[in-house]
Symmetry: C2
Amino acid sequence: MAQPLYLQIADDLEEQIRSGDLSPGSQLPTEDDLRDKYRASRNTVRDAIKRLVGQGLVETRPGQGTFVTTKVDPFVTVLTGKPAIAGGEGPFYLSEVNAEHRKPFRTTPRVEVQTAPGMITRRLRVPSGTHLVSRHEQRYIDDLPWSLQTSFYPMEFIARGATRLLIAEDITQGAVDYLAEAIGLEQIGYRDWITARRPDSNEQRFFRISHDSTVFEIFRTGFDQHRKPMRVTVTVFPADRNQFIVNTGDDLPDPRYDDLPDA
Amino acid sequence: MAQPLYLQIADDLEEQIRSGDLSPGSQLPTEDDLRDKYRASRNTVRDAIKRLVGQGLVETRPGQGTFVTTKVDPFVTVLTGKPAIAGGEGPFYLSEVNAEHRKPFRTTPRVEVQTAPGMITRRLRVPSGTHLVSRHEQRYIDDLPWSLQTSFYPMEFIARGATRLLIAEDITQGAVDYLAEAIGLEQIGYRDWITARRPDSNEQRFFRISHDSTVFEIFRTGFDQHRKPMRVTVTVFPADRNQFIVNTGDDLPDPRYDDLPDA
DNA sequence: GCAAATTTGTTCGTATGTATT
DNA sequence: CAATACATACGAACAAATTTG
């Protein structure tokens, strides 16, 4: 056995998909058809398909069939930028490359007061177990689920007068601008910490992705004029439709007109 | 059937792993033992284990058994930094956070002249099919495979006098400094384009990761004083042991003393 | 060095459950 | 309700990798 049969079948199907012989959105032959075609058992065919599902090349729908996944035009987020511009864009400075026609939408925040996980308190440099204000929202682009975002602020900000943080309303002017105006906290910069991991069950449901796909998780820590962390924002993006740009150095050419990802 | 049996088994094992009942590196009961314990067939037990493998919680070794994966202390790369400091560090400004004791090592480059893929020529803004110099190297940290890096330069640079680009030797002073000195090209900045994807078979072999794991792929385009792209570097990192930091704004506190990832 | 024992990997056949049309 | 298609589960057999005696 040079190669296991299920791998031969998977490779053959993968080749058909990559060559365009099986176009995105089209249906694969049913498992029974593939069983006849490759003279294998149905279980072996299913092992091959499982592999393709894991690779994100196809998706199965019970009662319907197996279909070649359609690639979405990836959404590109620029992580760097002059912090001052961030106002009105929400916690993230989202500059969408190649997205002229795209319509972002986000839910009104779900506001809670909770004891945050160590991942957050450590970054905010507060004792673990401290109560924090969290503002969670779901974000869509063109009605496609795009990211899940949660921002954490110290409770202390409320006492100092930033009461709108507790209200479940979009802070349209931008939370950064609001904090500057309300309690005189200026964000002088931020640090993004980029990781990748598997989605939890919530994320699988919201993004409609499988358990063995990948999400980016970006922790953004904002620092005030005293170089102290003033807030932490955690954003989760499905890796299959998100990419990121980081610019270092001033006056770089606009990425919009080159650097395009492969079609 | 509230939950499929193989998911119940997987969840139970996952719980044992997360609780520390099964510690990292330790061996799970054999498939036959698990078959008896859960009164399921061996195939059902194997389905459960496959799921855990996909989640990266365990790894199987033919002839030996199934073992709880040991998490490596992640390696953190800072993507932003004053470009001037990059000299001597190689194409990437690699500032290792929490890495005092770690020893980086890289192979001597494999140098080729090739027609690069569209992904590269598009970023370099040269016609597709143009010949480019590529310098490929494998990079290790503490003898663990850490990243695969390939840099592309226009052939024209050779004619203009940067002949050392063609030599399969480490350019210890840094390629950026060398180009400045040899042909007067200054890198004024760069752009990183961050994506995630599945590893190809080469990468699976080199990093010793499975086909359904994830790698980061970072395209770094360097720009010269005329704001034209002067080189493109592609680096691939396995996602299970790599994280990235992006700083926006000056004078942020050192991430080394906070922001530590969870143990 | 070799053979046996152990353990995971592949493949088949079969039966039944669940979702969709 | 019936037909179709994928999902789960069991049992069995043999192959391949590794360790042990």
